[in-house]
Symmetry: C3
Subunit: 138 residues, 3 copies
């Protein structure tokens, strides 16, 4: 058994879900490990990491709208020094979570047919977002 | 150290929490690995995976009611082609999450006394739900 | 490659976020494993585990207030036998989640600059909270 670590980076450009499945799959292919488990950590507190529907952009827009309604911008936050979209982003990041663990077989993440891995970006400004990735297996 | 992968399947019959702890425990016992870490992925986007209270069905009903109130069915969703319970199910799945990582000792998941592992089913129709399971250890 | 398991315990004293990053880091340092992956499970159903902003106590207060508003105490719960803060705590624990998986390099969790690991305590009374920790690597 072996293991490997890497930092995978992605550009985001405003709130939304950004699918990273293909980029992650290419990284897995390059490691030579075909069977094991992948662990991912989104290294940010105003963006999250989730598995959701991979086929419909309308689903992604509905998820983003739900998060906006659940944690709206407004005067209700004590922490307001980093912009009106900052504290809502921390709430949304708490809700979507920051880490995922995904079994790998035949060199592929064992995702369901309709599943993809997404960075959930919660800030307005463009950001470079990084995932710490650990792959273990043989 | 060794590791093993499997797909565990479960039947659901409408919205609710379905405890899978015993089924998962039996699978662990069959692997011969007694000390390590278990990783689980729910391979669906309209069902989730969570650890919660294992003793009270009232707790489960309250959790389901909370999710229903947080993501109600209704006309407010753009994605509406797969039935009124589909988009709320994607929201609920985002909230409960899809993956869990659980240390294992003495052949048992190291859950707290009151904890169980549950599939959270968010659709009305009966479904076969699958968990990708990876166990590593010795 | 080697792995090790431990139970890490923490005292809480009422609702709030309690940073455990330093305690976890010290445990990692004592294992002699410097590169691999850490898995954590909060062994309770009325407290959670999350990664969030490590610098601002105002962020933590806002997160707690958001959770209080999302799952308020009140007469709306069927499960009410363990006190008014019990069922809201189970909801909050579902939202924050119970497990985390964090890559480790150079003997350190690969957290982002602004990230810390926190126990989210949702009960009023003081509690001893335990994390099951599994570290794998070399």
């Amino acid at each position: 058994m072996q293991h490997t670590l890497s930092i995978l980076t992605f550009q985001t450009d405003g709130p939304g879900l950004y699918e990273v499945s293909e980029h992650v799959s290419e990284w897995i292919a390059g490691t030579g490990i075909s069977r094991g488990v992948l662990n991912l950590l989104c290294q940010h507190t105003s963006a999250g990491l989730l598995i959701t529907e991979n086929a419909s952009a309308a689903v992604h827009r509905d998820l983003v709208r739900w998060l906006d309604a659940a944690a709206p911008e407004g005067p209700g936050y004590e922490h307001a020094t980093e912009g009106p979209d900052d504290m809502p982003a921390h709430v949304k990041s708490m809700l979507t979570g920051s880490t995922l663990t995904i079994p790998v077989a035949d060199g592929q993440m064992m995702l369901g047919t309709w599943q993809g891995v997404f960075i959930a970006e919660h800030r307005r400004d463009p950001h470079t977002r990084s995932l710490a990735a650990h792959l273990l297996g043989d």
